[in-house]
Amino acid sequence: MFRSIGPVLAVMRKEFRSELRTRYALNALFMFVVTTLAIILFAIGNENASSEVLSGVLWIIIFFSTMSGLSRTFITEEERGTGPTLQLLTRPLTIFIGKFIFNTVLLFAINLLTVALYLLLLTNYQIRSYDIFITIMALGTVGLSATSTILAAIVAKANTKGTLYPVLSFPLLLPLLLSVINATKMAADGARFLDALGEYQVLISYSVVIFTASVLLFEFIWKD
């Protein structure tokens, strides 16, 4: 089990190096976040949107960023014919975990950017309880990545990849999104850290459940 760490890290490193070389996902995501924020700003204009609405909008942007960026890792393997090559190098689980870690780190980076720009540009939206906010961002990112990674593996094997991905992801991500939006609102309103305990529990159990299911199911998707 522990000798698998080398191969897992090797898969992860390959993903990072590939992304840094080609920058397909990074460029697209950066422009996506900037453009979407601009649209939101124009749409809201001078209106005073409530903290509920703005908490929700933040996660809408994050959801669509996830959809734009996290499927790349599996779709390119399928399209370029490098999938079978990988299959002959190591066990399926190694590949899944390596790509999952990559997706999670990528999503963290994107979300950091999104949150920073969001707080900067939407001046009437303030976070008062940063302890809740940071915890929620961390847990939410892991959960989003878990679901998105396994679904990306499924979508990579289908035909109409682009539009199918959000359609499959949204229903499965709803419990996570509801929980995370609610907690973000609490963070904006200045609740205490333990007030959001219910949400932390939901997010942790959600991530554990999805990750476990993914580990068990991945091989069925990956092998033709």
Binding site: T147, L164, P175, L178, L217
Partner: protein
Amino acid sequence: MDMTLLKFLLFFWLAGVILAAFAFPIVPSPRHWNEFPVIPGLEDKARILFFHVPMSWTAVVAFIISMISAIRYLVRKNGNDDIVSAASAGLGLLFCVLATVTGSLWAKFNWGSFWNWDPRETSIAILLLIYGAYFALRSAIDGEEKRAMLCAVYAILAGVTMPFFIFIVPRIVASLHPEPIVNSQGKIHMNPTMLTVFLASLAGFTALYFWMLRLRIRTMKAEILSLARADAA
């Protein structure tokens, strides 16, 4: 078992349920066996209970069966399991649409608008989205084995998130759903007549679902056979 006999039995059972649901009078203090009590705030509109809840229940049962067949497919790789899974999902979609529509009607008559973001309403809509996603996936894959495999995996993933809907969603938004039926202690506080008709309806719709499932599986298998013959010719 003679299927024709069962078919007629089911027909009369459901006919009886529908009749009872609409014809039994609603009186303030029921004294006869065929009278329903008045539920304050609902009155005549309570009749939809006999249809809406069984349909929702059936939609969930269909989903669970779809998921169990999916697991069996992954274990045994037998094409029949995939057929059951898809057939059940199709029926589940149908009952889910019916449940959402009857629920919306009730919402309109009771609270004035078709949609209220009540958690149960939301849950049934989410189930609808899951069914829709399942069929979107199904139509996007060439190759029977791959299609069966990927749909089975998705059904299981969706099934695994179900508990979160049932338990978590209601926590977040205060419920508009009436709680005359099952309260927190799990006791059933329904008038015996209503309870009888309700349970009869539940049983009837479940039986209807299983009968339709059988038919659908036979149809799908026949389709596959005729396609195979066309290929061979």
